[in-house]
Symmetry: C2
Amino acid sequence: MKALEDKILKEGVVLPGNILKVTSFLNHRLDVDFLMEMGKEIARLFETEKPTKILTVETSGIAIAMAAAADMHLPVVFAKKHKSHNISGETLSAVVHSYTHGVDYTIVVNKEYISPDDRVLIVDDFLANGKALEGLIDIVGQAGAEVIGCSCAIEKGFQQGGDKLREKGIKVESLAIVESMSDDSLTFRK
Amino acid sequence: MKALEDKILKEGVVLPGNILKVTSFLNHRLDVDFLMEMGKEIARLFETEKPTKILTVETSGIAIAMAAAADMHLPVVFAKKHKSHNISGETLSAVVHSYTHGVDYTIVVNKEYISPDDRVLIVDDFLANGKALEGLIDIVGQAGAEVIGCSCAIEKGFQQGGDKLREKGIKVESLAIVESMSDDSLTFRK
């Protein structure tokens, strides 16, 4: 999505540790009109797969998931993050390692919100090593439902998480794929 | 909003400690089409105040704030919650006491995302004792901007937070105001 690449070049800030800061439109301030355009693009990319539900994870995934869901008239379920592994009740959960924060956390979804006949589109803001998406895919599997694809706003192509999922045959569409980045340059995958 | 009252009666679950669980459409699963209708209603209620920005707090405020913002074509800023009081950098912050969890936390907004000429509409999912809204109002004040009003999806009228803000002259519009609730009955303010 050319408009997103332009926006990243204009507003993104590269920080040490391969962090791409896009708090001006995606992670703290939300450029809602622009997010709705991104949602429309995700809807276009996955229209033929006929998803019945969008799954994301709190916090930053909610806005982009909601934008896509608004265009597709679908419900969203957002997994909750828990530091504790003690989750009670009828839940589905997976342990995810956070590359950014260097810790493990558990993501949790109430069992009743994903049913075996769901065709789930997984949406998130960032895709780096793919650990969060793997956790969400695991949860969909536990529910006996089908993952019809994954869509992220920004993929860090150089961290290979997206390509590993594609190699497994999962349809992964990111709206912008950063191929390399440093203090003074940022390139996108063609 | 009659449709919201009906939905609360149909899907809401009252738990001990005055907790109203609406995870089926607002706090875990998001009924996005319905949220967009709620957003439209918030837009209608605050149209004449001409807000320039919507401020909310993560996590559950994001979806309803985004729905209102989509209709009004405004940006959203969501305050971040920190357990630590050590926030560095150019930030605005306020300490908020959580009634539900019985702890204090700090909410933080980057200074650059609220400017003195902003007319801020504060949006959140729940309004109970009003502590979260007070913290957000404090932050808007620190930025030198104006709060033009507050809108919440569900207000617990019996916890008085909304009425205290109204007594201060702040326009507070909740889409549904629960006047009383117990295991087997739930009434709304007329």
